[in-house]
């Protein structure tokens, strides 16, 4: 839905700016006082209560709002176009935001990079591992390695499935999505060597009708556990429950949507990063350019086990979580992709930058990225 890009916020703020400018001589003392507080602007690509990616961020922002002296300005449904640059710019110029959080993959290049060059006093942080040394110093990336929680999903799914066939509804073949798919496979194969993951790409982050079609097609192909990586997993989880198969969640907790078949789910803990940023800015410290984390530093978690998880699955998943907290690697090489080429030559640490460039599906995954 790119048609309704004329957004309420831009319109209101533009009007407010005009009024503000007219009242400038009278308003100055209050503005000066307001600058002591820290304003953080956050831009979401979808609705912030979508049961998914945006909700995971919004839940963390709610925790941040409770922090003294922190003001949060938010905007939802901002497409990955010039519109996101306009939103961010208005947050800087009108709300006085000192930290801009862009939470959708396509915001970074070129929009946030251009703005970072234009506003050197504002910190820009983007939720994907994209920052490079050549990028502006006031820009940066933060990322939680959700694939670790998906690995745990895979372990639990492998032992909760009768057929060993896991279905995966994915949005776009970008590295973090591919890593989640591959991690589900490796988790499942760690407990059940014949497990497979069948993937269907919908092509975009929020396509409810096509996600339902994909979920139905996977069940028809014999999968008896479904999981997904789309912005709002509600449709996939509800379709799985309606078709009588089990499901694993993604991004936020979907346990209430599938009382019969929910196994567990991969969830972010963005609040760990966001409260750290706010603390550092309050103390006047420079933010690190790259913040990454996973199970070892409390940045991801798994949803509490649902009725679909068997006792063996729960025991194995708990053991997998304990292993990840100690840094046990997921990608134990050598591993081949599903065309037979060796793509992972050796065992990599869970945070190794080599894995951020993932552009393959491992052997055992049925599907193609093009």
């Amino acid at each position: 839905m790119t048609l309704h890009t004329l957004n309420r916020r831009t319109l209101l703020k533009t009007g407010a700016a005009g009024i503000g400018a007219a009242m400038l001589p009278f308003g100055l003392p209050r503005l000066a006082a307001a600058q002591e507080a820290l304003t953080i602007g956050v831009v979401y690509v979808g609705a912030k209560d979508d049961f998914g990616w945006n909700q995971a961020h919004a839940v963390a922002m709610e925790i941040l709002k409770a922090t003294p002296n922190v003001t949060v300005v938010e905007e939802e449904n901002v497409p990955e176009t010039d519109a996101c640059a306009k939103s961010m710019e208005s947050m800087i110029n009108i709300d006085g935001a000192k930290l801009i959080l862009g939470t959708s993959f396509g915001y970074y290049t070129p929009f946030m990079l251009d703005l970072a060059a234009k506003y050197p006093d504002v910190a820009f942080r983007h939720a994907a591992p994209l920052w490079k040394d050549s990028d502006p110093a006031n820009a940066g990336s933060y990322f939680c390695y959700l694939n670790q929680a998906h690995y745990v999903d895979g372990v639990a799914a492998g032992l909760s499935s009768a057929s060993g066939k896991i279905g995966f509804v994915a949005a776009k073949p970008i590295p973090s999505v591919l890593s989640n798919i591959n991690s589900v496979l490796l988790g499942a194969r760690s407990v059940r060597p014949d497990a497979t993951v069948q993937v269907i790409f919908t092509g975009d982050w929020s396509m409810p009708v096509r996600e339902a079609e994909a979920a139905n097609a996977l069940v028809d192909a014999g999968c008896d556990v479904l999981t997904c990586h789309v912005d709002g997993p509600k449709v996939v989880i509800e379709t799985a429950e309606a078709r009588g198969v089990k499901s694993c969640g993604h991004n936020a907790s979907q346990a209430p949507l599938a009382p019969k078949g929910f196994i567990t789910g991969a969830e972010y803990k963005w609040e760990t990063i966001y409260t750290m940023y706010a603390d550092m800015l309050a103390k006047g410290e420079a933010l690190p350019n790259v913040v990454v984390g996973g199970y070892h530093n409390d940045m991801v978690r798994n949803t509490a086990y649902g009725a679909g998880a068997t006792p063996e699955a729960i025991a194995a998943a708990d053991a997998a979580i304990a292993g990840l907290k100690e840094g046990k690697p997921i990608y134990v090489g050598p591993l081949k992709d599903n065309a037979g080429n060796v793509v992972i030559d050796k065992t990599y640490d869970n945070y190794d930058p080599y894995l951020d460039g993932m552009n393959y599906l491992l052997e055992g995954v049925i599907g193609s990225i093009t």
Partner: protein, 307 residues
């Protein structure tokens, strides 16, 4: 997988997809047919669709009665249609511009009032299990058909018959083809057009209730990926014929199911292309129908785009 089995899977998925995905297209297209037959275009039915989806979900959630939700969606569509019909009856108002404005309006109020309903789960419309005779679970699923689909078919046939055989049908066609003739007959074209727009808007609202209460069966802001707009294009393809609207909607539904179905049988290369199938189809249809003299002949003469 055996090629025959794979082909069967894809065909069943397309059959199921045609039935599941086509219903919103069908209702919007039928609504637009009524409106355009009166000589007016309502491009804003996407707004009716989204608002109908929201209202249906909210009512079903609060009352536990999904059919009341469908009725509410119909009513919400009627109100938006009345707004469009009335505004366009003022002098020198362009119906296309009003349609686009009302589309934004409908979507905007749906998002505004829909916020509290994204999270909760509302009772859904249950489908009729018509595939119990089959041992193939995929076929059984494909034949899990929602009553709204049959309602759409009934409306299409009734509309087709009424347009050709009844006095109101004649008045509607005449108003759309030639305003002076209508006036000469003592018909008030403004009243006919307002009524046609109101009814068309209401049908589009029902299409929205199918999205939120049946398939995919939940309310969120990305629910409609432009189905309301595509359906307006379908009407031109269907040459303002309600029966052709049915075929066109089924074709679009099947095309939409093609992408996921091919990936499920292992034909996963080129899924972007297959996912674009309904849109490519629209383009070809528009080009083909624009070149055909028959289409130009079938267009109501009073439509602002053909005048």
């Amino acid at each position: 997988m055996m090629p025959e089995a794979a082909l069967q899977t894809v065909l069943i998925a397309m059959l199921g997809g045609a039935i599941r995905v086509s219903t919103p297209y069908l209702f919007v297209a039928l609504g637009e047919t009524i409106t355009e037959k009166s000589g007016r275009i309502n491009l804003g039915l996407e707004g009716n669709l989204v608002l109908g989806a929201m209202v249906a979900y909210a009512l079903s959630f609060h009352t536990g009665l999904p059919w009341l939700g469908v009725a509410g969606a119909f009513a919400a569509g009627l109100v938006l249609g009345l707004l469009h019909g009335t505004i366009c009856s003022l002098p020198k108002v362009n119906d296309i511009a009003v349609g686009i404005a009302l589309m934004s309006f409908g979507i905007g109020i749906a998002f505004f009032f829909g916020k509290p309903y994204i999270q909760p789960q509302a009772p859904r419309l249950e489908g009729l299990a018509l595939g119990e005779w089959s041992s193939n679970p995929a076929l059984r699923q494909a034949l899990q058909i929602n009553p709204l689909f049959f309602l759409g078919l009934v409306i299409a046939v009734a509309l087709w018959w009424a347009l050709a055989n009844t006095r109101p049908g004649l008045i509607l066609r005449m108003t759309g083809d030639s305003e002076p003739s209508a006036r000469a007959m003592g018909v008030n074209p403004v009243r006919v057009r307002i009524l046609a727009t109101v009814l068309g808007g209401g049908l589009a609202g029902i299409g929205g209730s199918f999205l939120s209460l049946s398939y995919p069966g939940s309310w969120n802001e990305g629910l409609s990926s432009g189905q309301g707009l595509m359906a307006v294009a379908l009407v031109i393809f269907a040459r303002w014929n309600p029966l052709r609207c049915v075929w066109a909607a089924l074709l679009f539904g099947a095309a939409g199911a093609l992408g996921p179905a091919l990936q499920s049988v292992g034909i996963s290369q080129g899924y972007y292309f297959f996912n674009a199938a309904p849109y490519i189809l629209t383009l070809f249809i528009m080009v083909a129908s624009a070149r055909s003299g028959v289409a130009a002949h079938a267009a109501p003469g009073e439509l602002s785009i053909v005048k």
